[in-house]
Amino acid sequence: MTRNQMHSIFLSAFVFLAALIATRPAAAQDPKQPYPTMAPVEQYLMERDAEIALARSAAPDAISRDASVIVLTRHGYETAVQGKNGWVCWVGRGWMAMFDHPEFWNPKVRAADCLNPPAARSLLPYAYKRTELLLAGQSKPEVIAAIRSAIEKKELPALKPGSVCYMMSKGSYLTDNGGHNAPHLMFYETAKDDAAWGANLTNSPVLSVNYWYLSAEAYPQLKSFPPLSVFLVAVDKWSDGTPAPPM
């Protein structure tokens, strides 16, 4: 897998990459929107046990076996398994990508993810809200406005330090691009620019993306959202310990 393919996967899996953006039309400018609208909700749903298993496969068993697991229903995520180590595993859908991401409505996306306790406490409330509103039929601008209002009223939490997630499932489908998947870790930081971790530079093993958007021009309201950067580091094994393709 080439580095560009890796970037493409990250771009499509909740994230983006500046270098790729520079060579690839951004979503808002792309005349080809492969998934312009939401598909029938059934296409986003999974069989419950399969979803639990996929969610858990995001992290090594030593972590995920004691984690809570949430699954998607017609109206939002609900707890399927109550855990005991503070971690929460789930399967993200396309709409957890940036609001202007071209695969936002891709019904094939299944992004298995295990959030550590700080990430679960601070990021999942955003995922719950976004998902519930979208499944209720609200438009993206309406959802953005609702999230903004909730942030202002402090109904949604600030990011907690040390927020990390594992995305090491061999069974994820992150994007239509490349190999569709790659094992990686993600680190969440506030008010950090790419340069802070040397991200997105030639040969750097660190990539970074904005949590909210690819280009703030598509939804200017997002510019006023609290800064939230996602730093990504690829790892060389899947959660089951088998080697992943080189990146």
């Binding site: 306790p117 040390g162 990390v164 594992y166 340069a195 802070a196 030639t202 790892v235 060389d236 990146m247």
Partner: protein, 232 residues
């Protein structure tokens, strides 16, 4: 656990050799001390240009070419190149980067590039430690001085986002493990390593808490060296 023992543990983690570590005597118990004392200072010094190049190799050129570079002098580290991106690259010597048996090994050369938050906190500790070592303080005195400086806030706790690159293909880690795998390190004021799932079976993250200096270090191996070649 001493600072050097921490390094041993991390090395062991990389090598998946926890069992080896458990069965391997640490320095204090080892009858054979290949490097029982400090060697003549000259043996730790390098040609200035070579040291600058080696220090820069710790991170991809896209990062290190604009980094500040420190080189070792007879009394400590000194600035050789002014930087402009906040990163600081350095070749650490045995007393800050090698396991106990190699504590005085004059061959050890460990290139590291610290990002700005780490340079403002973690690097200062290693600079101070080096200065004390070169002033011929004992290991115990050095540890004591570092802890005291931390207590007095003369040495700051890790800043938010502190991390470093250790992705050089070059360098020498010590006689027990000659070369470190390509990796990144992330620094936090002491937190529970379990919060990142570190050290659990199958986890790609290792961690070690230094209970004296109150710093937790997370280590993640990466797939490429700083020059972009495959490190797996």
């Amino acid at each position: 656990m001493t600072r050097s023992q921490i390094r041993v543990t991390l090395l062991g983690g990389f090598a998946l050799a926890a069992a080896l570590i458990a069965s391997r005597p640490v320095a204090a118990q080892d009858a054979k001390q290949p490097y029982p004392n400090m060697a003549p200072i000259e043996q730790y010094l390098m040609d200035r240009d070579a040291e600058i190049a080696l220090a820069r190799s710790a991170a991809p050129d896209s990062i290190s070419r604009d980094a500040e570079v420190l080189v070792l002098g007879r009394h400590g580290f000194e600035t050789a190149v002014k930087g402009k991106n906040g990163f600081v690259c350095i070749v650490e010597r045995s007393w800050t980067s090698a396991p106990d048996p190699d504590f005085w090994n004059p061959k050890v050369r460990t290139p590291i590039c610290y990002n700005a938050p780490a340079a403002h906190s973690i690097l200062l500790r290693n600079i101070k430690r080096t200065g004390l070592i070169l002033a011929e303080r004992t290991k115990a005195q050095v540890d004591e001085a570092i802890v005291a400086a931390g207590d007095k806030k003369e040495l700051p706790s890790p800043e938010s986002g502190a991390m470093c690159f250790m992705t050089s293909k070059q360098g020498y880690g010590g006689d027990s493990v000659e070369h470190w795998p390509s990796h990144l390190m992330f620094y936090y004021t002491q937190i529970d390593p379990a919060i990142w799932g570190a050290g659990l079976p199958g986890s790609p993250i290792l961690a070690m808490s230094d209970t004296q200096e109150l710093v937790t270090t997370f280590v993640i191996a990466v797939q490429r060296w700083s020059d972009g070649t495959d490190a797996r």
